[in-house]
């Protein structure tokens, strides 16, 4: 076997500052001087108690929703591939809390249920899509991996790994062209970061200074392949360097770190600075999809992360330290459970699509 590839050591506290690429002079003076990975800060967000409670509720909703989806899958009510977001809740909660609904746009891969909930989409119609019902958000035609809500600026839900990065670049192009002030959050995985089109998009986005935040949800695995087995540069926040896209590596298990970092990123992007790359270090607790025997990692590894870094438990501990009564959190939990139970009931009771629906929406006009 060849010798192992060179590795960059993991970033410490302030990855950006320490890992900055050597400052380079721009060869074309008209082009803004490249921002290095060191250009941005990653402060911890100072949340009010109400905000903390909101974060907690949001993360809990995603977790309980996903647990329920897992149960319905086990009962045979959901078919196909179903990818759960459990463990990664702080990423989408922190990021989505910072954007402006109605102005910004969001796009992601197939692990999309959490993103939809964090966009404020009704859990009922998300769950009904999972069960393939007519009342589902894509009328039952898309399924778990392919969901959209144009009303919420949510452009999917995509099953081809990495493709959403190019599509997101297009959304950002439109924001800039229309001058609507919007930013696109384009989410993708550590595995997706090895697709060629991601880098074509990076180059174009920087070249055209597009308002996009490239969000790598580094949950350490792409199906059965761990990130360091697939990636020559496994410090993924550096992947934009040769395109002069500043990168930041953030603790994706800490909602306040996520929120703090994305605010800095958004400030930069909204200020016309072009794209920013965020790497959120996170972890998926469940298998890649529902049918994953997970032989590529140990139970202890998963257990260890759950015990030490669970984003929900972490926030709960913080809330309790700030004097929030356990009862208050219990009430919240009850409320969330009810929302999820109602969504599941709705998803089970809704009718299936009419057969004629097969030939609607194929083209704009009917054929």
């Amino acid at each position: 076997m060849a010798k192992p590839p060179r590795k960059t050591p993991a970033a410490k506290k302030s990855p950006a500052a320490k890992k900055s690429a050597p400052a380079r002079k721009s060869s074309t003076p008209s082009k803004p001087v490249a921002k290095t990975t060191g250009g941005l800060k990653t402060p911890i967000y100072k949340a009010t108690k109400a905000e903390l409670m909101d974060f907690y509720e949001q993360m809990l909703l995603i977790r309980r929703f996903e647990e329920k989806a897992g149960q319905l899958y086990g009962l045979g009510l959901i078919g196909g591939f179903c990818h759960l977001y459990i463990g990664q809740e702080a990423v989408v909660t922190g990021l989505q809390s910072a954007i402006e609904p109605g102005k910004d746009s969001v796009i992601t891969g197939y692990r999309d249920h959490g993103h939809m909930l964090a966009c404020g989409i009704d859990p009922k119609i998300v769950m009904a899509e999972l069960t393939g019902r007519a009342s589902g958000i894509s009328k039952g035609k898309g399924g778990s991996m392919h969901m959209f809500s144009v009303d919420h600026g949510f452009y999917g839900g995509h099953g081809i790994v990495g493709a959403q990065v190019s599509l997101g670049t297009g959304l950002a192009f439109a924001h800039k062209y229309k001058e609507d002030g919007g930013v696109c959050l384009a989410y993708f995985g550590d595995g997706a970061s090895n697709q060629g089109q991601v880098y074509e998009s990076f180059n174009m986005a920087e070249l055209w200074q597009l308002p996009v935040v490239f969000v790598i949800e580094n949950n350490q695995y792409a199906m059965g392949t761990s990130v360091n087995r697939s990636s020559a540069e496994d410090q993924l926040y550096r992947r934009g360097e040769s395109f002069r896209i500043p990168g930041m590596q953030v603790d994706g298990m800490d909602v306040l770190a996520v929120r703090g970092a994305v605010e800095e990123a958004l400030k930069d992007v909204r200020g016309g600075g072009g794209p920013v790359l965020m790497e959120l270090k996170t972890y998926r607790y469940r298998g890649h999809s529902m049918s994953d025997p997970a032989k590529y990692r140990s139970r202890e590894e998963v257990q260890n992360i759950r015990e030490k870094s669970d984003p929900i438990e972490r926030l709960k501990a913080m809330l309790m330290k700030q004097g929030v009564a356990e009862d208050e959190l219990k009430i919240l939990d009850k409320k969330v459970r009810k929302t999820v139970a109602d969504a599941a009931d709705f998803a089970e009771e809704s009718p299936e699509p009419e057969l004629a629906e097969l030939y609607t929406d194929v083209l704009v006009e009917q054929y």
């Binding site: 078919g79 393939g132 039952g140 991996m145 595995g191 697939s230 590529y296 699509p353 030939y359």
Partner: protein, 330 residues
């Protein structure tokens, strides 16, 4: 005492064919996403055990980089290796279409015969289990339309074994299409030296009234329909193409010249499908002898829907075959 012949699953047959090819020829190497044992031996376990047996130098898990996988396979094939590139699902082949269509298929021709590309791309697909629009497509017609490629689809484990071995040893680029829902279907185990030549169809059922022409996942439904139609007194002959491109026209025309009626059956969308080409050729050659125009059965002209209720409506079925036969025979 009943001596039941040994049976194996389709997925196992593919695994055994690769193992034999690797043992027979050190130039055979395999690459693809998650295919080594540490990553699970492939999502559908088709390569399970191969990295342990032949080492991770020869059985390589790759990053999720289809274009680079196929490109690297084409490059190494050009200098004499026999790479088997696994593309996890057929829809992901779209990402590598440039390497397949512009390079693998044309290098020999454009170099005036100086180069050959003994490459095999294994991939799998198939609707019916709710994988939705981006994970279920049958794209064989796209590939069959490209001169310079061979396209193969087996309908049973023994054929899969014999055809995959031939594909790997073939000096041309071959796309070997497996059927995901069919991976667990069992059939008689082949002898270790069983080889099925490319470009040769089989006739697994003889009949006199109509020829059903199919390949891959459509063959089991053709058999079921033929059983049903026999009850109505209609005798079906079945031609299993095995190689879609270039296909065994001789066997097809011989059968249809006998039955004087034909229905082409595939899971791929009916419009612009392989069935259109075959039907057209039959008309060109046997028009005046036919009892009726050639029939075609395929799936609906829509993306594969997620919801099981409408996915079933999208998918071609045994009943569609029966209906089409009744329609053309009047």
């Amino acid at each position: 005492m009943t001596d039941k012949p040994a049976e194996i699953m389709f997925a196992q047959a593919c695994n055994m064919a690769m193992a034999k090819a690797m043992a027979d020829d050190p130039k055979v190497i395999i690459m693809g996403e998650d295919i080594a044992d540490e990553q699970g031996g492939g999502v559908f376990k088709v390569t399970l055990g191969l990295s342990e047996k032949f080492g991770t130098d020869r059985v390589r898990s790759t990053p999720i980089s289809e274009q680079a996988i196929v490109g690297a396979a084409v490059g190494s094939a050009m200098v004499g290796y026999k790479p088997v590139a696994e593309i996890m699902l057929m829809n992901f082949i779209t990402v590598a279409m440039d390497q397949i269509v512009n390079h693998a298929a044309k290098l020999r021709f454009m170099s005036g015969g100086q180069t050959t590309v003994p490459l095999t791309i294994r991939t799998t697909t198939g609707a019916g289990t709710g994988l939705g629009g981006q994970h279920s497509d049958m794209l064989e017609a796209w590939l069959a339309h490209v001169p310079g490629l061979k396209v193969v689809a087996a309908s049973n484990p023994a054929d899969a074994y014999g055809l995959l071995y031939s594909s790997i040893m073939d000096p041309n680029p071959v796309i070997f299409i497996e059927n995901t829902p069919g991976y667990f279907v069992k059939g008689p185990a082949p002898a270790p030296d069983h080889v099925v030549p490319l470009g040769k169809a089989s006739v697994p059922r003889e009949g006199t009234d109509v020829t059903l022409i199919g390949y891959g996942s459509s063959i089991s439904r053709c058999h079921a329909a033929a059983d049903k139609l026999a009850e109505d007194g209609i005798s079906c002959e079945i031609v299993d193409l095995r190689t879609i491109a270039p296909y065994d026209e001789e066997t097809v025309l011989k059968s249809v010249a006998k039955t004087k009626a034909a229905v082409v059956v595939h899971e791929a969308v009916r419009n612009f499908g392989v069935g259109a080409e075959i039907s057209s050729r039959i008309h060109e050659e046997l028009f005046s002898e036919l009892k009726a125009p050639v029939g075609r059965v395929g799936s609906g002209y829509a993306p594969v829907p997620f919801s099981p209720a409408i996915e079933k409506a999208w998918m071609f079925s045994q009943e569609d075959i029966e209906r089409e036969v009744h329609k053309i025979l009047g």
